[in-house]
Symmetry: C2
Subunit: 472 residues, 2 copies
Amino acid sequence: MTIIPVILSGGSGTRLWPASRSMYPKQLLPLTGDNTMLQQTAQRLNGMADKTNDCMVICNEAHRFLVAEQLRAIEQSAQVVLEPEGRNTAPAVALAAFLAAETDPDTLLLVMPADHVIDNVAAFQAAVAIGCEAATDGKLVTFGIVPTRPETGFGYVQATPDGGSAVAVKSFVEKPDRATAEAYVSGGEHFWNSGMFLFGAQTYLNALEKLAPDMFSACKESIRNRSDGDFVRPDSDSFLSSPKDSIDYAVMEKTDDALMVPMDAGWSDVGSWAALHDVRDSDGDGNTIDGDVYTHDCKGVFIQAESRLVTAVGLEDVVIVETKDSTLVVSKDKAQDVKAIVDQLNEQGRAETNLHRQVFRPWGSYDSLENQEGFQVKRLVVKPGAILSLQKHAHRAEHWVVVQGKARITKNEEEFDLGVNESTYIAIGDVHRIANPFDADAHIIEVQCGDYLGEDDIVRLEDNYGREGTNT
Amino acid sequence: MTIIPVILSGGSGTRLWPASRSMYPKQLLPLTGDNTMLQQTAQRLNGMADKTNDCMVICNEAHRFLVAEQLRAIEQSAQVVLEPEGRNTAPAVALAAFLAAETDPDTLLLVMPADHVIDNVAAFQAAVAIGCEAATDGKLVTFGIVPTRPETGFGYVQATPDGGSAVAVKSFVEKPDRATAEAYVSGGEHFWNSGMFLFGAQTYLNALEKLAPDMFSACKESIRNRSDGDFVRPDSDSFLSSPKDSIDYAVMEKTDDALMVPMDAGWSDVGSWAALHDVRDSDGDGNTIDGDVYTHDCKGVFIQAESRLVTAVGLEDVVIVETKDSTLVVSKDKAQDVKAIVDQLNEQGRAETNLHRQVFRPWGSYDSLENQEGFQVKRLVVKPGAILSLQKHAHRAEHWVVVQGKARITKNEEEFDLGVNESTYIAIGDVHRIANPFDADAHIIEVQCGDYLGEDDIVRLEDNYGREGTNT
């Protein structure tokens, strides 16, 4: 028997804006330690007997390079499956199950959202071990979080606990009102629906074939017609013909084989800045401070400064999050309403909901230091071994000064290396490329001059990352 | 009879940090309109019959170019007197009085702090007109602000009002406790001590000679031995031999000739962010918003964003001030405590209390876009007609790209012009200069590379602003 994590990385983490952006969402951020939430999730089974070093990540196209890079950084081998479009959890897990079943239909799939925190990994693994026995026995296991407060924002699973063992699910219940939630907490028969599941690949597929046959066949077709490369790309047309549904609705609520394993492992969905503050350490005044921050007479504040000095005076229960391009100040009891700001920004077509000022590319990153009518100053960081596309621009010229490391430049027919304090000029229309065949990051200050400076003024003639002919 | 404003511009406005910096303090900021508080103060007598277009500004050396530039911008002729060091208000005004008396001993001096707001200029001028009659008659006039709240942060002047006319001062009283302040407001015989005065130059000097003879002779000597140029520079040794004292203590409390004119003119000392919010317009929820700001569910907030997006959710009575290098978030009822943050920053030797990221020089300004080990990116703005010093650096090379306007470059023996999208390279040790003999601002992106990038790595060989041989 083997067990592999199936990590659902489709969320966008709107309520953790401005740290979380649609192109760089919550699960890809190191919110509670040095590793990102995706990395923590991928390593959550480490040390368990039946754990292989494989995992599957289901994510969307836009995040593929970041996901791959983060898994590479922790030496985690993974199949990264690119969902053509989100269809909720049941079809996503069906893709994973069809893939896993090709190798071994008995493989156990531990389905986990990529953006949850588990503080007590030992307790988590103990619950999973109990789940494994049931799953090996053909059951579909859900993990019910022992509730610590009368939360009205979660659904609940009803079951009569019997120590820590797997017990039959009596019912799934929707988000309750406050009084009902309080009764659930004191009653001891209701658990938070965590969105974590464990079952054999073939067991899930059999249930799906019976309970959601359209979804089953759409996903089966989609995997059969996939293309494989660095990423698994299921066939889009087949996948989009699948109904949208959650694992709960499509399978767990309908099957007779649903069991629940209770889990008391310091779980949090980190659903808001207030929830994140709850799982972070704080000082004697309840303050949690990251970065270049000075406070005076503050209590219960959570302040995160990424790029500049942030100061706070006389505040109580307030969250301040500073990034290179945006600052959010929110009262902790209104932390859920950050979404309202993101909605406002989206209505205005603001880029700050999608991208950070520092934009990550497969070759490294760029950061806009100054952007004005007629010119822009960027800092490029090119990773060792990386090669940008061979490209040209119709509207802008570029001045490059290398300020750290070394870079190899192609400029029309020439090729030459630039070291620190050396520069070159790329005129409008010059065919050019930056490569870094050296050992350290190359940092280049780029001054762009031109009448149009959009990222889409680019013609890619060659690209090592399969982006020829595109301008994204 | 002529009346000239004597503007005391010595304050540093700590409690309005991070907008106010010791090198760019409160009075030099446009806090309540398009003009700065200094400019508003200089123009506060405009339209009065006896007003000339002269004024005097007493400020410190570090602010001289900014003060001169702001007065030039509003076409205000002025004598700018550079205090060698602050000795409180009585000696500062003595310098002005000695200077004015050289031309006409009967000149009336209207002494005003540079950093107060007067909302109702007509009421202000009416009070000044009443004061003029008394001052012409040899009296020393103080203006008492009709109190609008039981303020415990101000001193009070006691007098029995008689309509708006000038009345004898009964006493000057120190900052009261809350109960006393409430009694003052309801009693109608106590007025806020505004720090504004009106008297003839010779009248003041005569009073000073009698009441503070050491101060009188020190200031007399200091003015006699001054050097005149673009700025009036009183002799430092003489001036520093003067005792420190305020006009109130040194003169007003001791003379028999003190009169008070009541003033009800929407006065504010703008002593904190909360006080500034009070004098600004706000919307139906009591919110005042400047810059790129989005709010949701906020009341009574004052948000000022200078350079980036600032967002606020669920806040009440909070001030947020964002500048290019710092952000302050302060509860309005703790607005006075911003000073505690400034003290903390000063203890750590942080530059953010002294300078803005954009630093103003007589030739224009520079702004640090990125500053890292081994390199720095700056944006220089050179005003039309300006010439930077002829200089060289021992530790850094500079790459310049002109991105707006045109600049004339001296590089060792060469001189040449650079337009938009043109660049040059200044090696370590190259003698160089930037000039702008053209009609529009020249904007230059400068990439510095070197092992030491401090501003003090500069040898000035020639300087149009009298800074040869210095590195500041």
